[in-house]
């Protein structure tokens, strides 16, 4: 039977913890909170215990909603309700993080930040309904390439594709949009409809040929690009595939689902929500790619006592691929090990 075993309990934040980001190459994670700080936690190579190694608390005036490491692990971006996004650099020798740049432009709360696979682009989104694409120019400069204003409401989350320059955004308008670039021009290539309430979280699988989304409608949906219709190209139109919902798990949680994480190491999916639960879902091996089947293999209640669970993230390192981090309204971050006995 599969289960999640508690590995570590990380305390130190003094307000609700909103989001978690794992470092791409080190056993280290960043968490951000309503206490306006980011905490960096590291695994001690000696005894294997986890502890706080840095507190970044001098860049944002309000809640820090989201954080993300660049693919090379050198930079950390943080998005705040103070309408700004900060980029921090890690000093290789001291391991200390210093604020390198502050990205301004959104009218109000920035809710999510994501680095593209190459690390050359950054995306942010806000309650102002826009998605911004930023280009990294030189050591510490960021230039806004595009302001995308097609969502009708708040944009809750942005997530880049794991290999391509393709961006997904999730919104309070109940939709997900897919954005692509064509000759320096960023455009919405598809709008994914089906959720009946705010879409809070999205994540791609390892290869990026599937997208998972979670919502206030308490469903987990899976989407795949439909490449079967390609006659548009002969007519001179853009040949972007349409994303099709290939599976929906109804009533997965009893209240709003806030987060979804798709492990790039072992393909397992984890979700977390306002019903205090964390779930692990696995795709059944021998299923048709266009009609995949999924099974809920772990259902952990009261993962953070009687608090909402706001974030869930699988560790991206092969060595620690069974580690799952969760963050809650109880100000605590927990690390769990997925065990199948």
């Amino acid at each position: 039977m599969a289960k999640l075993e508690l590995v570590a309990e990380l305390t130190g934040h003094s307000d609700r913890v909103w989001s978690i980001a794992w470092h791409p190459t080190l056993p280290l994670l960043a968490t951000c909170s309503g206490d306006k700080s980011v905490r960096i936690w590291k695994r001690d190579a000696g005894n294997g215990s986890w502890g706080c190694v840095s507190v970044l608390d001098d860049a944002h005036k309000r809640t820090i909603r989201s954080c993300a490491f660049s693919p090379d692990g050198r930079l950390l971006a943080t998005a705040s309700f103070d309408a700004s996004t900060a980029v921090w650099e890690r000093d290789g020798d001291s391991g200390e993080w210093e604020c390198l740049a502050t990205l301004e432009g959104h009218e109000n709360e920035v809710k999510s930040v994501s680095w593209s696979a190459s690390g050359a682009l950054l995306a942010t989104c806000s309650r102002d309904k826009s998605v911004w694409i930023w280009e990294v120019v030189g050591e510490s400069d960021f230039e806004c390439l595009s302001v995308l204003q097609e969502h009708e409401q708040d944009v809750k989350m942005v997530q880049w594709h794991p290999t391509e320059e393709l961006l997904a955004s999730a919104s309070y308008d109940d939709s997900i949009k897919i954005w692509r670039e064509d000759d320096d021009d960023w455009y919405c290539s598809d709008t994914l409809t089906g959720h009946t309430a705010t879409v809070w979280g999205i994540d791609f699988n390892e290869t990026g040929d599937m997208l998972a989304s979670v919502s206030d409608d308490r469903t987990l949906r899976f989407w795949r690009p439909d490449t079967s219709h390609s006659n548009a190209a002969s007519l001179g139109y853009r040949q972007d595939p349409r994303w099709k919902c290939v599976h929906t798990i109804q009533d997965l949680h009893e209240r709003t689902i806030y987060a979804v994480s798709w492990s790039k190491v072992n393909g397992r999916i984890a979700t977390a929500g306002a019903d205090n639960c964390v779930k692990v879902i696995e795709k059944e091996a021998m299923t048709d790619e266009n009609a995949p089947k999924f099974e809920t293999i772990v259902s952990l209640t009261n993962a953070h006592g009687q608090s909402d669970v706001n974030s869930v993230r699988w560790c991206p390192l092969n060595e620690f691929g069974d580690l799952l981090a969760t963050a809650g309204d109880d100000c605590v971050v927990r690390l769990w090990r997925y065990v199948n006995t």
Binding site: R16, G34, R62, T63, R65, F81, N108, E109, K111, R127, D154, K156, Y172, A197, T198, D216, E254, R255, A274, G305, Q306, S307, D308, D329, D330
Partner: protein
């Protein structure tokens, strides 16, 4: 405020209950003491309307019958009725109720706040905003808005 949306609201007689009548089981320390709708109503009935020097109870915006509780699931649903269907204060009133309960109830309670069905022309939008925890968290970091909420809650000081 010279241009009130609803200049002459109907004023309702308030419940004579000055506080909760203690029941025998309230004194028994050995049994669990779950919340009932009367206790929740007691917490919100004295909230001041943002526009009028009257309480939400006097304007019939809050009613005990519109509160439902599931103590097993720690779930509380509070519905309220704006005085007029185009009331632009509906979100603010809902926010006041939410903040009042946030500050008074144990953390384990999950609270949903909705306008009562058919009582507001933007019912869906108001409900959606009031139950989005991120929007509520951001609103409460706005010092001006927080001040307005605190003014409405000034009349609910615990006795």
């Amino acid at each position: 405020m010279s241009n009130k949306l609803n200049a002459n609201p109907v004023i309702y007689e308030v419940s004579k209950n000055v506080g909760r009548i203690r029941k025998p089981e309230d004194e028994d320390e050995s049994v669990a003491d779950p919340f009932d709708s009367e206790e929740i109503f007691e917490l919100i009935r004295h909230i001041n309307d943002p526009e009028h020097p009257l309480t939400l109870e006097q304007l019939n915006v809050t009613q005990q019958e519109l509160i439902s509780i599931d103590n097993d699931k720690h779930h509380i649903l509070v519905r309220f009725t704006p005085t007029i269907p185009h009331c632009s204060m509906a979100t603010l009133i809902g926010l006041c109720i939410r903040v009042r309960l946030l500050r008074s109830l144990p953390e384990r309670y999950k609270v949903d706040i909705r306008v009562s069905e058919g009582s507001h022309q933007s019912e869906h939008a108001v409900n959606k905003q009031l139950n989005d925890k991120e929007r509520v968290a951001a609103a409460l970091e706005n010092s001006h808005l927080l001040e307005v909420v605190n003014q409405c809650l000034a009349t609910t000081i615990d006795k």
